[in-house]
Amino acid sequence: MPYIPHTETEIEEMLKSAGADSIEELLTCLPAALRVEGRLKLPEGLTEQALKETLAGLAAKNRGSSEQSVFLGAGAYAHYIPSAVDHIISRSEFFTAYTPYQPELSQGTLQAVFEYQSFVARLTGMDVANASLYDGASAVAEAVLMAGRITKRPGVLVSRALHPEYREVTETYLNATPEDIHEIPYCPDSGTTFVDAIETALGESIGSVVIQNPNFFGSIEELARIATVVHANGSLLIVVVNEPVSLGILKSPGEAGADIVVGENQSFGNALNYGGPYLGFMACREKFLRQMPGRLVGETVDTEGRRAFCLTFATREQHIRRERATSNICTNHGLTALAASVHMALLGPSGLVELAELNLSKAAYLRDKLNEIEGVSVAFNSPVFNEFVLFTDAEPDAVLKALGKRGIVGGLSLSRFYPELHGHLLVTATEVNSKADMDAFAVALSSIVEAEAATAGE
């Protein structure tokens, strides 16, 4: 049997010590009548070689970024991951370890998390950050709950330009009191959240306001203005960042006035992986620390006064506080956070700035290029980072399909999430999209839209 070292002789010896004649004898506490009859209905076990061949077969049925030219983003970004990242996270002392409950033999994980917290705090411009949450979406939900605990106000205003799946997750989490979520529309010209609508919707019961930046349409929000409005109401501003590479050039949410910053750190060090595992992050002002969910690592000393690290503020957590914990989270996303740390450390400040500028340049080039096409236009007039919305006269599904035939995944059709944005595509460009691929995209799109127009004109 794979992965089981026991020989028959050893099993006999062990049974003898355990005072049983057979393994069955150890199973008498199981209800005899309800035991599994025969075998589970599962495929036969495979040798390692057959397993690898089988799974390689499944993998080959997928067509990823190495087989198509993909311009998708929308919360999951294809960035180049330096080789050192996987080499480091593959060190088994990291990846086969448990959550660092025993600090003396977990100093590696603990110091790495401490550094990660520091990176996130600096990146977001906040005082403290936690060790990780599941993903950007659940991090938003946790932030809203946290804001509710802090402000003792149950209501929340959520921008409609927040990632639709993040909105859904927040709704699911808050389901107990659904009436407390209010959606704030975006402005049809700019694609940014309608600040006046926030002002109108704010009130006594509103604990927090959730704004993504750059938002789901790629548009950069007026965070500072929003912060002023929100704070005037005594509410907290939760800023969501799911493309943290943007923080290489954009003002940090902390500087812009955010109280809690959450989001998705997948862009650093983690592959697309069909949507997961990614890693949620959360940072906040120091004063909110005790309401924060998730693990926290702190610096301390050992009995000899040497620097050491350990999990701390565990009294917020489920294993101590149980039903009064700040969250139910236990296992978090340690290894993906480590990958993010390594990537950030490799980039350094100048690498991060360069990477951000490169993403900006790529998207600007593509946007201009596509905007030139007859029958295609950029939908919103706000500044963007590395993604933007495109409007085509042609039927977007037909356009995407035709592009797909040429090996181009041209973007995300927004009508899926925004019925009002029929004909709109969310298009993303990062450093993995070459100029040649972008040019080919433009050529293909132009001829497809033209052909569609011709057909429509018939």
Partner: protein, 497 residues
């Protein structure tokens, strides 16, 4: 006895910021092949970082590639994983993480697929997910499975929300969840998050839930009983079938925390015992690595009545084509963006395929054998509070016999480190004083168990003869005991220059 633990050369290593040298360049991104954008032309100044590269809030450390590699290599050397040695951390199922699964999870066809690709482009991934759902349903005896939750606790939340929604659909409002005192902390925390009030159920003297306590507590305001089976004492809840009947007959659901499935595969199916919802921890039972704290994956299986409430999207198979189904009017909604921790699913799927039905059954049998072997051999030395029958995959001792020497469970745990063994889970479950919760898992050999048993016996002798060895432990690690109180009193959660 052969002591595995010793000391050897390791390196001191500062916090990475302390390696930083102003002006050093990290790894550069690829060259521009498009015109370099003029940032301030594209983005108004009010949106831009006002700080310079050196001083701005994103001020990451400035280190070279070799320094990064050396930094983390050294850090890793202060850590202990399953590959380093025996790791009998109870409740956590620290089994071998097969290397082949790591290679498979890194296949380009899995790593490079964007979650919003057309399903045409992801048939392999969808097939894998679909089949994994089927396998997990078969293993647990459930009718429907979602792979979406990111971890066990997330799965608990998911299951409880489905119960809430189903009750609502039935037109009922039930506000309470019954939870035994042996339960993991996530159980009450998840219940609370799902909007329920927690009612604690005291375990019986044999460590299991009694029929009477459920009879008594189970009223029409109870939405669910949330138990763990085998429970955290490593005991099979022998009355589970009758208990489930009571709960069901009074309109409640039975939720089983499936974190301990490593004891049951191919032996009994929770669904057959009357469980309505179960969450699984792929990072325990199904050998995906724990990663120093995740990512895990916490699929949830449910009986037919609850299936309509599973999170969206569901995976659908139509002839030989796989697609997503979003149109599920009764769903609780979503628990995370996209579809779950796919790369973890790949590993778990690989594990199930590698083991097959016989292998999985053997996993549980040997996990149980290993635990009973330790239990029987150690009970002469350490107090075993519950010893009426064989344990399942883990055994829980107390520190009762140590107290007279002024020695605590924590001391034993720390001393084990000196022997080269990761401490068991300690002080949990709460119902056992100074609990020492030992879960060997099936991947550990008799020789490894014997080494552990001898170490525990040697430590028990030391506790009597030289307790200071325990108080001062560990002495082999780069740092000695860590001052956790100070960490909380004088919080330093981020590096300060």
């Amino acid at each position: 006895m052969k002591k595995v633990g010793t000391t050897g050369l390791q390196m001191n290593e500062p916090v990475i910021f302390e390696r930083s040298v102003k002006g050093r360049k990290g790894v550069s991104p690829i060259e521009h092949d498009v015109p370099k954008a003029n940032v301030s032309e594209l983005i108004p100044a009010r949106f831009l970082r006002s700080e310079t590269v050196e001083t701005n809030g994103a001020a990451l450390p400035e280190v070279s590639e070799l320094e990064v590699v050396r930094h983390y290599t050294r850090l890793s050397q202060w850590n202990f994983g399953v590959d380093s040695g025996f790791y009998p951390l109870g409740s956590c199922t620290m089994k071998y993480n097969p290397k082949v699964n790591e290679d498979i999870a890194r296949l380009d066809g899995f790593t490079s697929i964007h979650p919003y690709l057309d399903t045409d482009s992801t048939q392999g991934a969808l097939q894998l997910m679909y089949e994994l759902e089927e396998y997990l349903a078969e293993i647990t005896g459930m009718d429907g499975v979602t792979l979406q939750p990111s971890a066990g606790a997330h799965g608990e939340l998911c299951g409880l929300m489905m119960i809430a929604k189903c009750l609502k659909a039935r037109g009922e409002t039930r506000t309470k969840v019954l939870i035994p005192d042996t339960a993991h902390g996530t159980n009450p925390a998840s219940s609370q998050l799902a909007g329920f009030k927690v009612v604690k159920i005291a375990s019986g003297t044999d460590g299991c839930i009694t029929l009477e306590s459920i009879e008594e507590a189970m009223d029409s305001d109870v939405a669910a009983l949330m138990l763990t089976n085998p429970n955290t004492l490593g005991l099979f809840e022998h009355d589970i079938v009758e208990i489930a009947k009571i709960v069901h007959s009074r309109g409640g659901f039975v939720f089983c925390d499936g974190a301990n499935m490593n004891a049951l595969m191919g032996l009994v199916r929770l669904g057959d015992l009357g469980v309505d919802v179960v969450q699984l921890n792929l990072h325990k039972t199904f050998s995906t690595p724990h990663g120093g704290g995740g990512p895990g994956s916490g699929p949830v299986g449910v009986k037919a009545e609850l299936a309509p409430y599973l999170p969206v999207p569901r995976i659908k198979k139509d002839k030989e084509e796989y697609t997503f189904e979003y149109d599920c009017p009764d769903t609780i909604g979503r628990l995370k963006a996209f579809y779950g921790n796919f790369a973890i699913m790949v590993r778990a799927y690989s594990y199930i395929r590698r083991c097959g039905p016989e292998g999985l059954r053997r996993v549980s049998e040997i996990a149980i054998l290993n635990a009973n072997y330790i239990k029987e051999r150690l009970k002469a030395t350490f107090e075993l509070p519950h010893d009426d029958k064989p344990c399942m995959h883990e055994a829980v001792f107390s520190d009762a016999t140590l107290k007279e020497f002024g020695v605590s469970t924590m001391d034993v745990a720390k001393r084990l480190i000196d022997y080269g063994i990761h401490p068991p889970t300690v002080y949990f479950p709460l119902v056992v004083g100074g609990a020492i919760m030992i879960e060997p898992t099936e991947t550990e050999s008799k020789a490894e168990l014997d080494g552990f048993i001898e170490a525990m016996e040697a430590i028990a002798a030391e506790a009597k003869n030289a307790p200071e060895l325990l108080h001062n432990a560990p002495t082999t690690t780069r740092v000695s005991r860590v001052d956790e109180t100070r960490a909380a009193r004088e919080p330093r959660l981020v590096w300060q220059p």
